[in-house]
Symmetry: none
Subunit: 415 residues, 2 copies
Amino acid sequence: MKAAVLAVGSELLGEDRAETNSLAVAALLRRHGVALVRKAVVGDDEDAIAGELARMAAECELVVVSGGLGPTSDDVTREAAARAFGGELREDPAIAEEIRRRFAAMGRSMPEVNRRQALVPAGATVIANPRGTAPGLRLESGAATVFLLPGVPAELQGLLDDAVAPWLAARCGEVALESLTLRVAGLPESEVEELIAAVYDEFGRADITLLAGGGDVRLRLTAGGEAAPRQARLAGMAQRLRGLLGVAVYGEGDEELEAAVGRLLLAAGQTLASAESCTGGLVGERVTRVPGSSAWYVGSVVAYDDRLKRELLGVPPDLLREHGAVSEAVARAMAAAARQRLGSDWAIGITGVAGPGGGSAEKPVGTVHVAVAGPAAVAHRLLRLPGERARVRWLASHAALEMLRRRLLAAPPAG
Amino acid sequence: MKAAVLAVGSELLGEDRAETNSLAVAALLRRHGVALVRKAVVGDDEDAIAGELARMAAECELVVVSGGLGPTSDDVTREAAARAFGGELREDPAIAEEIRRRFAAMGRSMPEVNRRQALVPAGATVIANPRGTAPGLRLESGAATVFLLPGVPAELQGLLDDAVAPWLAARCGEVALESLTLRVAGLPESEVEELIAAVYDEFGRADITLLAGGGDVRLRLTAGGEAAPRQARLAGMAQRLRGLLGVAVYGEGDEELEAAVGRLLLAAGQTLASAESCTGGLVGERVTRVPGSSAWYVGSVVAYDDRLKRELLGVPPDLLREHGAVSEAVARAMAAAARQRLGSDWAIGITGVAGPGGGSAEKPVGTVHVAVAGPAAVAHRLLRLPGERARVRWLASHAALEMLRRRLLAAPPAG
């Protein structure tokens, strides 16, 4: 089976937005062993959409379209599909009612424009979208099945899971290609590459993809064939790589570093707090992305102003005067104070120069002090981070979480 | 003039890599007023590339291709172009010599495979690439000009500057299209659309693009022609839209909501603090994305655990018991306490149910109480937000910042 993906939206033809919805589709297709042969982007233009739809449906058995299902008059994917595949558009009263209900639940009445989202080409199957007002639509054209899905990434992913995945499973049978991702922190890409060189020879380079970014390295292992040998092969690769990379592997699949930290804390029955300066709340924001983090994260003091480092955290004024706010002594004092004042087992303290201003010869932009206070001691690391403000802040939070994770692994179990 | 962009490379059909070379092409095209009407991605497949090239050259006057000019046998853009446009491939001795010279400069002899990079379709013009071994190629096919450029981003950008920009300048003259973005908060997309409907009629729909996301609506206004009338037209559109949208327009261009809030605080000589529960530090993280925010942001208490709401913020235990942590009373108390304890002019307090757990019939997931404490009073809003955890948290922080911004606009000037 061949598949094509069409992304609709004039904003995707500009210089600002890369088209990324197709990546989610590509991931799903890969799991089912379906070849994605072409991607295209067209603007909010009925002719262009209709032309591309007809072409893709003639070439491929599966066409996935994202975008152009919004309520405004430049959302014309419905009209284009009706034109390309010859079905007239009609308002579906059940969809209109559902949209009205959604607005009512927010205490508002449905704007008139939203009625456009209830239009359905004749012969199309409506796919409920619990995450937004635009339902998805499925059409058949010759040998091709065409899914029209919303462009909002969370809504798209939801309908890929709810509707496209079951359709693929029914058409292509079981998952044909399986992959497993190992997530690695605390090691640069080149070092990971060197450590695992032998595994490339053993298992073949094509089945191991190395992706680096945001302080992480991810290793994607892929295997095909029947379920039993496929899984055995994946498990063998993973075991070999874990042996070579040791504690640097923090998780598998979608598990982010903050979730891995939470898992360890939860298992130990311990809690975390933070005291942040240059990261401005990013550590707290990241750990509370994890559902259920209230079981192990108590909170944070963001002491952006040095006055708050003194008043809220009790960092001694002498320390600040003598060493400056960006210093090992202050990072250690922040972590220790957070642990004590917020009443947690562990605490992270971060202070640094995120830029673009504030750097000096002695403490250039990218200088960050990270401390982790635990039941036994306070550990510290001085980081010299590359890049701009956002990157420095992210890498600082990442290094702090990784430092905590290694300490949790090394710590004796709670008693 | 219409243009299309083709990106070649099987790795761009996977789940890991968004196609971004087209953004550099789009930026160049926009400056010259050329409409990019279609982008496509195909793999390293001669048939697919040839088919797409023929189609694009039939539809557009300019086709820019990136990728597939490397030395290995899966780099087949040259072969595909020769096929699509009917010119035979021949080795160009001058290119081969140049490639040899590059290798010699690195103390190496040219690998045999690199001779493929010296192949040129008959009738093509060679474009020197000082940044790599693969030269660019320019072909004419009917009314279309086709540029084949390397996929390495720095090489692509170099040849866009060296060869495509001069070609565009010769064909289209000076920079012809200019745009201006108005940023709107606090209004849903459909309401913005209704409010500005008249402007579509006055100025033409094609020149106003509406982009919604993350609680914002952006209006991109575009004008062409000579500099003076073009800028007058943009200014006229912006003025008209600002008249209709009023205070909902918070900024222009790249200015994010948090930066607009900072600008107002800075102008008023006032400061901000926050007390966050369900957002976990996101408000602090967002405002400290703004360089120089230390001039107007003092810090935050992330009281994720209710114990910290009592201990760090002094929220009365009675309030928490009687109303629950997710309540108007607690949001107001958090904002007031942050303002007082952190010593700022303004403070944001947020408490809510971000999900996926923790919802109830009375307080379902998405229920968020936001309060803004200022010099005069504490204001409050109850939000019922759609979507998943990350979206609820983002929209809550956005609504809080927007609420603060409107209060800052309404507040009497400092002094």
